[in-house]
């Protein structure tokens, strides 16, 4: 058989050239692309990790501030409750005071009314007594008594006038 040795060698050389070209032209870039892809994937993985960490941090912060707010709210609530209780006590005391005041006022006004009634009735009695005396003395004194009366007091009268 006539093996076409130069052809085989030529094929081999051809193959070698093609292989070399492909390797040089394709392999490196493909490798690069694969490398890039791997890098991107690992980058995004670490990014995701970081974000995860951040999220946890924010979560714990949220929890903390919620706890603080709850504490504050409970404090405010407690204060409000205490204030309400003391206000209620105050109100009860005040009502008692007001009732006592009213009673005192009523008593005082009754006392004053009585005083006024007393004075009015005394004045009326005095007037009555004076009326009665003038009636008793009659419409007028008779001349003789009158003369005597005047004579007795004339000295006193004339001294002052």
């Amino acid at each position: 058989m006539d093996i076409q040795l130069p052809q085989i060698i030529y094929q081999l050389v051809n193959f070698g050239v093609v292989f070399g070209a492909v390797t040089y032209l394709l392999y490196k870039p493909v490798q690069k692309i694969l490398d890039d892809r791997a890098k991107r994937i690992s980058d995004s993985l670490s990014e995701a990790e970081k974000i995860e960490l951040e999220k946890e941090k924010i979560d714990s912060l949220k929890k903390k501030s919620k706890r603080e707010a709850d504490k504050e709210a409970t404090i405010i609530l407690e204060n409000a409750q205490k204030a309400a209780v003391s206000k209620k006590k105050e109100l009860v005391e005040k009502t008692k005071e007001v009732l006592q005041e009213d009673m005192k006022k009523a008593q005082a006004s009754w006392k004053n009314e009585k005083k006024q009634l007393l004075i009015d009735s005394k004045k009326q009695m005095v007037d009555a007594v004076v009326e009665v005396s003038s009636l008793v003395l009659g419409k007028k004194l008779d001349s003789k008594t009158d003369d005597k009366f005047i004579a007795q007091n004339l000295e006193k009268v004339l001294k002052d006038i």
Binding site: I119, V130, D146
Partner: protein, 74 residues
């Protein structure tokens, strides 16, 4: 000319009037005009008004003074 108003229940006796006139002339001089009034409601006694001074010695006047005094003490 000072005016003297004398008020009595009954007509004033001449004796009393003389005493009165003598005293008044001593104090106020001779220029005196007398107005003798009769008012039975004063019951008794005498009231003399000279110028703007007055003395009330009537029974009625005394009674009203007494009542005034008593009322202020209440």
């Amino acid at each position: 000319m000072k005016k003297v108003i004398v008020t009595t229940a009954n007509k004033i006796s001449s004796k009393n009037l003389e005493t009165l006139k003598k005293s008044l002339v001593k104090k106020y001089g001779k220029e005196l005009e007398y107005d003798l009034r009769l008012d039975p409601s004063v019951i008794g006694g005498i009231k003399i008004v000279v110028g703007s001074r007055s003395i009330d010695m009537t029974v009625k006047g005394q009674l009203s003074q007494i009542s005034k005094q008593v009322v202020t003490k209440i």
